[in-house]
Amino acid sequence: MAALTSLTLAEASKGLADGEFSAVELTQAHIGALEKARELNAFITETPELALEQARASDERRKQGNVVGPMDGIPIANKDLFCTEGVLTTAASHILDGFKPTYESTVSEKLKSAGSVMLGKTNLDEFAMGSATVTSYYGPTKNPWRGKSDKDLVPGGSSGGSAAAVAAGLCLGATGTDTGGSIRQPASFCGIVGMKPTYGRCSRWGVIAFASSLDQPGPFTRTVSDTAMMLQIMAGHDPKDSTSAPFALPDFAAALTGDIRGMKIGIPKEYRIDGMPDAIEKLWQQGIDWVKDAGADIVDVSLPLTKYALPVYYIIAPAEASSNLARYDGVRYGLRVDGDSLDEMYENTRGEGFGEEVRRRVLIGTYALSAGYYDAYYLKAQQVRKLISEEFSKVFETVDALLTPTAPSAAFAIGEKMDDPIAMYLNDVFTVPSSLAGLPGISVPAGLDENGLPLGMQIIGKAFDEESVLRVAGVMERQANFTAKPEFSAGEAS
């Protein structure tokens, strides 16, 4: 039998069902891995006792014949942006010091009710603002992949802790949130599968807001079918989130037919950007060949507004963030740094509580919404956003999905690009456009670059057509047959 920490979610589910091991054994193996992997700093908070308690309850349910579903007894982790009842929730920010919610986010509650076991809360960029998990108050997370590099690499971000944890075998699946690429890009950097569903598919209730019109929870797993299984549980209409879509859920696993014959896959030429590494260029062509071999029709398409996506995103996201983060004022919870007046208390608290990147974005967003600038920035950005969305819709009249690289580079060293926010923001150049349009996207590990670092391919679909995205992703996964393992693995030897 393979090591418990290197199983896929589906294999673990079957093992539990077949009685090969108990949820407690499975959980203990992962707690062991967690302890050995502390150097990765993938977790802000570990909850081993809670996990074991949940695992014991799962085993008890199984004994009684009351298993609640395929994820009953499966150890997972939650990005520390999901509020978890009674468990420290930080958004990786100093300003939420000591904050233990009295409530559970809808998505984590759904996973909890499905019997899954929570191992802890994973690291992220502060308030999900970043592409490398380096802006966390709790320090950077290391990518378990190192390749030929002699330096520690970033896992991508903002959901870098979740991606690193799944890649290193610390959990079988993890939640993330994606605002401009925060699930897909770290999945690519860490050689795993990460999916951002359609905006509105998963509830945002109880997820600490970064940019409300873009934020969307989604899963990280090691296989596409595991993603389908986990998404099935996380998704669904939530009346507590007005932007949650009131649609019935399709059977995501059933979409994985392995058959994409006759499907039309679009290749947007604007994603062929200057300075893109050869390895990515080659892998993209390889990916095109793979889906072609599997019987799909390749269609060259054009999305000319793509170049405006990043500037638009970096107005809208900070604008919303500047308002969303106003509630962290030291009055009711988290950090308070006293001052001689209310204004001084605000200044002290927010000055000390927020890190540099968060302060930068709050400033940008405040500026973009200011009187006299609103029309030129925020309003204009919203207008372009609408056009980008329409441009996608038009392309989707002729194709079923788009295939692009997930990110313009492989993982880079911790500390790189830190002094150049624009270079950092470019990480999201391929993921931001579909985020602005609210479309579903997935990153599937497809190969290694010349330094032995994983690269992902992104599949983008029509709104609420996660099924096509998953179907193409499943075929891509099969064709790529990506079996490489990260250099760091805390799991038991197999």
Partner: protein, 485 residues
């Protein structure tokens, strides 16, 4: 009878516009399920959304949407089938989110009108610019501790309608009449209880002045949060006079927010324009635009009650009441209902007089509303019936009414118990009059000598002799006959 301020340089006109904040009658807040009950212990009516806990999201309370539409219809206003909630961003300790969810560019209700009933019976139309929905903030309490302030979030998130008038008012009386009329309409509609002392209705008053004849509007000052009709009027009087003095002493009025100090009766600067907030309005991405169909609006329209203006019209045409009487009777729905119950099948003019004169006097004296009236509409109706069928005279009726107020007994019983029935038996009255004539030959002489005024004295004697119970008409007729014979 226009209101002008006599300055040293001439007469000044006052231009007034009001923004009234009216708390929506609803069980729950605008975006959370927390209750809205008045007088709860501090921080008891607070949900996770109202306290802006991380990750919490607003969900529109549809009842509040319905109430806003209902109010818009009552103000004969344009209902916008699509409207948008925006965030108004500013920091304050009792504003947990750091922004207020309001409606900025696309309010739920557009232009409408309110008709003022002025004391002289005339009317004046004040335009409504818009009505929008917004959340209330919490309350900061500064007097509990020398160094710290306390925050009560019970009001945080409570639904308010901000009703913005056009600058159509020209006197403190106009403004007073406007607030009263608006309150009356809202109460009729059941969309706001109008209790200004509980803070469920408060007004921001925009005041500017200009020399008579000038057509441009001058800079206005906004007096915030005035919480009674009387204070609205006092604040305007003070502020208008202050502005005239500023101009006449060579100064300029600055655009600013002012506060009305009801103890000193003056307004004070709170915040000038340079320190005005930049609210950074933008559409709230947590909420979808509010969209509904014309059918939805029509359905609500069908449930509207008869509103004061229509009722007033009807009272004037059906009951032949004066504009003034009708206006007074319809101001409160309870009064109008009371009056109609009394007037039903009776002489409406008499009913109106009794309600406005006698009943109101009692209510004012006791300081109670018509709902707590010691005399029910039924009892008052019975009293009017006793007058109509000549069981008692009008004079006796007033005595009976006083007893009704004190005892709560019905008038029939009082009349019977005290033997107050009118004497209509002409034989009995003749006997009394014969006796009076016999006893007072001197007065009979005077009458016969041409002093007809003395007839009144005889009537008085007759009434006195019968304890006021004689039918005055019968007394008159018999006296005339006997004296002339």
């Amino acid at each position: 009878m226009s209101y002008l301020i006599q300055g040293e340089t001439g007469d000044w006109e006052v231009i007034l516009g009001l923004e009234v904040h009216a708390q929506v009658v609803s069980n729950a807040k605008l975006f959370s399920g927390a209750p809205t009950t008045f007088g709860a212990e501090p921080n008891n009516n607070v949900s996770l959304v109202d306290s802006a806990m991380p990750g919490m999201l607003p969900v529109i309370n549809e009842k509040c949407i319905e109430q806003a539409v209902r109010t818009g219809l009552g103000l004969k206003a344009k209902i916008n089938l699509r409207s948008v909630f925006d965030r108004k961003n500013y920091f304050y300790a009792d504003l947990p989110q750091g922004y207020q969810i309001s409606q900025f560019k696309n309010p739920i209700v557009g232009e409408g009108a309110v008709i003022l009933d002025l004391p002289d019976g005339s009317t004046r139309t004040v335009g409504i610019e818009r009505l929008h929905l917004e959340q209330d903030a919490g309350k900061s309490i500064h007097d509990q501790d020398p160094k710290r302030s306390f925050i009560d979030l019970n009001r945080s998130g409570v639904a308010l309608m901000e009703i913005v008038s056009m600058p159509d008012m020209r006197s403190p009386e106009d403004a007073g009449a406007y607030v009263r009329k608006l309150r009356s309409i809202l109460r009729y509609l059941g969309t706001c209880d109008g209790n200004m002392e509980e803070g469920s209705m408060r007004a921001d008053v925009n005041v500017s002045v200009r020399p008579v004849g000038e057509t441009e509007l001058r800079t206005r000052a906004e007096i915030k949060n005035v919480n009674s009709v009387r204070f609205v009027m006092q604040a305007i009087e003070y502020e208008a006079r202050r502005q005239v003095e500023v101009y006449e002493s060579g100064g300029e009025v600055v655009q600013e927010t002012r506060l009305f100090d009801s103890v000193k009766g003056e307004t004070r600067s709170m915040r000038s324009k340079e320190f005005a907030h930049d609210y950074r309005y933008f559409p709230d991405p947590d909420l979808l635009p509010i969209e509904f169909s014309q059918e939805y609006v029509d359905q609500i329209k069908e449930t509207l009650p008869e509103l004061p203006d229509d009722k007033k019209e009807r009272f004037m045409s059906d009951f032949a009441l004066s504009a003034y009487d009708a206006g007074v009777l319809v101001a409160e729905k309870e009064t109008a209902d009371y009056f109609e119950a009394v007037a039903q099948g009776r002489d409406a003019k008499t009913a109106a007089n009794w309600v406005i004169t006698n009943l109101f006097a009692v209510l004012n004296a006791k300081g109670v509303g018509i709902a707590e009236s010691p005399v029910s509409s039924d009892s008052l109706g019975q009293l009017l019936d006793l007058m109509a069928d000549n069981t008692i005279s009008g004079r006796i009726a007033k005595d009976v009414f006083e007893i009704m107020v004190e005892s709560g007994d019905d008038p029939g019983k009082i009349v019977k118990d005290k033997g107050l029935e009118q004497i209509t038996d002409t034989g009995e009255i003749e006997g009394v009059i014969d006796q009076i004539i016999a006893d007072n030959p001197k007065q009979v002489e005077q009458f016969k000598g041409g002093n007809e005024k003395i007839a009144g004295w005889f009537v008085g004697q007759a009434m006195k002799a019968t304890g006021g119970k004689a039918n005055p008409q019968a007394v008159n007729e018999i006296l005339k006959k006997k004296l002339s014979s």
